[in-house]
Symmetry: C2
């Protein structure tokens, strides 16, 4: 230990010997996408990169009170070994009921964030080379886990009404002709990450129908389901499903706080039991489960969701107004219906990485679109998170990005003009 | 969903179709050993079965205070997304220093209990058929995970000085002759679960030497390391290791409270990075990590360990005295040097399952020895946890077991006597 843990390298003999002990699946180290996505501390620049929650909305006092109550009233169970707290299961069953799904405890797996559950999916479903269908763009924090397990990813485009389900049907038909059955379709139907759009009612119906027809699981990641800025919710895919093909994934990260790390899967018991089997730590911690359940009690969760929805809608509005004021008209932006993000499409002359280089030097960052596609697309797109920054930083940050957009689009245009002139000159005799 | 989640079975078509979607490794469901070991609530009978902690020793007020402080002073980071809290890493590095190991952050993985880390081991090391060496008896909560991954388990006996390392050497030599290299040796060197014995100094030296010689990882599970009833600690295997073959596994479950679910692995960075890769949820929750680190600060952990050691020593003493008073002399018992358990060996005429049947009817349970062996041994042994029950229940429970022991051993003896008489009769002409 002393040697290997110091700056000096371990003895030359031990390293190759150790490497040969690892199982095939553990030969190469694939770094965690979550590690890369999540900063360890509050960023010092105006970052629109990560979907962090707004700390000003954290119910600190209520959580402290919930913890104190749990420890005082149920500390003996909260602090010992034990299974997932039944009261938390009830809270999740109620949330599923609100989403139109009458589930039972055997339909549920509660884990350390939806990230854990999404990370377990390839263990249950994917052998190297198996096809997994994802959206393009999508949440790569999940999708890169599927890729790491050796999945062959096929991306389906997303438009203003969510995943283009007709295109999915073509792909499923083509694959079926080749005798290939995809393992699952990963979709974020509501307030899609990163695009902010929502899968339309007819597409929802068709997607569930295709799942049953082709025998493919649909993993619906509903992280942002409750952060709806206006109107009524559409039925979740799980609510439309009659045969158990939909695995619904939810999280307390967006509706309570991310730092507690509690999420869930709801679906067919055969899937749930297998996800459970690959979750090596047993059940959710008795302490954490009770704190979250206690916090959610007495209507606190619903009123907190109302507060969050109002505030995130306001922040989104501030970002959209700043964009309208500072971005050149060549940048295409659609207002999201909820969630944490605004998706922007740049003119084809400008790449998001060029823009990022310019804005990062001025202390402002965002997520380039290439980080949202499994197939290398997204060069001319970017994701802006309005969730974390306070309003004044949203405005000043958008202004800085806007100034760089004007400069770069202008210089591209004049560069193209210049190039055009040179071209016409060279064509001159 | 509605159909599958209700009492009615899913449509006949969906089930076989779903089954064929699962990866090979997920075809069969293997139930969690932790689920089976851990009751959801406080047992209603006098249970000596599980290694639950004593709730009367839970530092509820200090944990409530630590939580309130974290939320008030560092809530913005505690409740957002983020990596494992650096302050908790410092606490673990100090604990490792106390165990004679100068580790660096890259040597550490902090997870949801040592159970999670032990459950991840086969992902990194085991292909079906690979050999893993364990102790007999051992902690089957961990070992059954290795078996579920397809490991071929070889058990090495444990005597009063811990694992019989000379026997391990023979096994390693025999395997090497067959060209077989075990993936790892799983040992609980200090206050072994279930035997309570401690690996002697010379055996520790030899075990580490064998690991380097044969190129085998030694996983040392030091769950009970700090719960030492008397004397000075022996050096941990990790402290003796010079080449990075020892993976040290520790936990806050026994020295703070189990319910927070925080444990760690400390070892070669190449192993740590791979364990991390298979832990699907990313890092330890920012909230939990800060609460545990805050609790451990200002010398609170060390004084709490002193309290725990004193109280568990007293409870152990109460159990040993009750055993001396109520158990027949045919039952062999050795006083443990620390930890949670007393191991008892019954005369060969009496099986622990027969005894359990009798005591369970009177409301008293324990862990039969067969639950502590990977190879079916242990029929005439049992594990008694003194950790959970209050003193008066320890005494009354041991009295009940003792009465049944007297009755069963007496009836066995008279049965054998009877049998002997009949035998001699039948030999008479």
């Amino acid at each position: 230990m002393t040697q290997t843990s110091s700056a000096s390298a371990p003895r030359s003999t031990s390293r190759p010997l150790l490497q040969t002990l690892f199982a095939q699946r553990a030969q190469a180290v694939i770094p965690s996408p979550f590690g890369a996505e999540i900063p360890g501390a509050v960023p010092v620049v105006t970052s629109f990169t990560f979907g962090l929650a707004d700390p000003r909305l954290f119910p600190k006092a209520d959580l402290a009170r919930a913890t104190a109550e749990v420890l005082a009233e149920d500390g003996d169970n909260a602090l010992n070994y034990g299974g997932t707290f039944a009261g938390l299961i009830d809270v999740v069953l109620q949330l599923m009921r609100d989403r139109g799904v009458e589930a039972q405890p055997e339909n549920l797996l509660i884990g350390y964030g939806s990230g854990q559950i999404l990370g377990l999916l390839p263990q249950v479903f994917v052998e190297p080379g198996d096809v997994v269908i994802v959206e393009g763009p999508t949440f790569m924090g999940a999708v890169s886990r599927f890729a790491a397990a050796g999945a062959r990813l096929i991306s389906i485009p997303v438009d203003g009404e969510g995943m283009v389900v007709d295109r999915l049907e073509e792909v499923l038909r083509d694959l079926a002709r080749q005798g290939i059955r995809p393992r699952f379709v990963y979709t974020i139907p509501t307030f899609q990450n990163p695009k902010g759009c929502t899968l339309s009612g007819p597409r929802r119906q068709k997607l569930v129908q295709l799942a049953a027809e082709y025998g493919v699981v649909v993993v619906e990641d509903e992280a942002y389901y409750d952060l709806r800025f206006a109107g009524d919710p559409l039925p979740s895919l799980a609510a439309l499903d009659r045969e158990g093909w939909v695995l619904h994934v939810g999280t307390f990260s967006k509706i309570v706080v991310p730092g507690v790390r509690v999420g869930w899967a709801c679906g067919h018991p055969e899937i749930i039991r297998r996800l459970e089997m690959f979750r090596s730590e047993g059940s959710l911690g008795p302490f954490l489960g009770r704190v979250v359940a206690r916090y959610c009690g007495e209507g606190r969760l619903q009123s907190h969701i109302q507060l969050l929805t109002r505030r995130y809608r306001e922040k989104c509005q501030v970002m959209l107004e700043a964009i309208a004021q500072y971005f050149p008209p060549e940048v295409k932006v659609e207002a999201p219906g909820g969630g944490f993000f605004v998706w922007c499409e740049l003119p084809p002359s400008l790449s998001a990485s060029t823009l990022l280089q310019a804005t990062r030097a001025l202390g402002v960052t965002f997520l380039p679109g290439t980080h949202c596609f499994a197939d290398g697309q997204g060069e001319h797109a970017l994701r802006l998170a309005f969730s974390y920054q306070p309003e004044e930083r949203i405005v000043s940050g958008i202004q800085i990005i806007g100034e760089q957009l004007h400069r770069l689009i202008h210089s591209c245009a004049s560069g193209a003009e210049q190039q055009g002139k040179e071209l016409s000159k060279s064509m001159d005799p």
